[in-house]
Symmetry: C2
Subunit: 141 residues, 2 copies
DNA sequence: TTTAATGCAAACTGTTTGCAGCTCT
DNA sequence: AGAGCTGCAAACAGTTTGCATTAAA
């Protein structure tokens, strides 16, 4: 089921701003703030309003296509709610984000923490911050 | 080493607003926004300025006495920091945050990811979201 | 006495809302 | 054609900054 159908199915429409927001998020694959989504859309020669970005993000979150995530400095980050959960290392200098593997199964950890705290857990956030190889070289000079 | 000494040692002063913010946080034991810290201080008949709350929180965070945590709705939450790096489970309903143990040593994980990606990592974010025991009960009714 | 810290007011930044006009189905 | 959607402008909320005054050491 594509985006078009998913929207129409709910009496909603696939409009230009919505397409743009989706494709920016698809291209980025790291959490982006509403502001930077807007920025990137302009850089891609796609003139959409900032207000539409906000409204579109609300809608897409509602539909479960996008997930809201909290970074350290940036509180309102949105990422594609991609099938399967990914974790990233984010470069604090150039913002590059690289996925890392080997943490696909956090369910054991989740179970232990549920037992320990009594919480029921349905979501998590695991992200590392540092410098990517390119920015490390730059710093050394 | 008490707060007084810890401040004086750095050429800083133990003032009324700082005492109030600390005692509000000690009493609360869940993350509070600057606004609600201010609110509670007024309710306790302690007249301090909102601006001082912001500045005090920055200072206490700097000193490592207080830690900033990210809730789902409330982005700027502050809790008393217990020694060492801790991770939290955050209740999406009442915003209660509970520390969990057993992940004190992420250094092995960090090393593996550094080797895998070439990044140098100096910070991380690990947080779980769900419902605390009290809110689970509430939901069931 | 000295200098850090406070608190007001004003500037800012990011987000939300009202409304007239536009566009997707 | 008609309901949903856009985008502007204006309102709003939370946070930060400048500056004269106060108070901790």
């Amino acid at each position: 089921m594509n985006l078009q159908d998913q929207l129409n199915h709910n009496g909603l429409r696939l409009t230009h701003p919505r397409q743009v927001v989706m494709s920016v998020l698809e291209a980025a694959n790291i959490p982006l703030s509403p502001q930077s989504i807007h920025q990137r859309s302009l850089e891609a020669q796609e003139e959409i309003g900032l207000v539409s970005v906000y409204r579109t993000l609300d809608l897409l979150t509602e539909l479960g296509l996008v997930r809201r995530v909290h970074g350290h400095e940036e509180c309102q980050g949105y990422v594609l709610a991609s099938p399967g959960h990914h974790h990233h290392v984010v470069c604090r200098q150039c913002e590059a984000a690289v996925e890392f593997t080997g943490m696909e199964d956090v369910s054991l950890l989740v179970e232990r923490i549920q037992a320990q705290t009594g919480f029921t857990i349905d979501e998590h956030l695991l992200q590392f911050y540092g410098l990517c190889p390119a920015c490390q070289e730059e710093v050394e000079r």
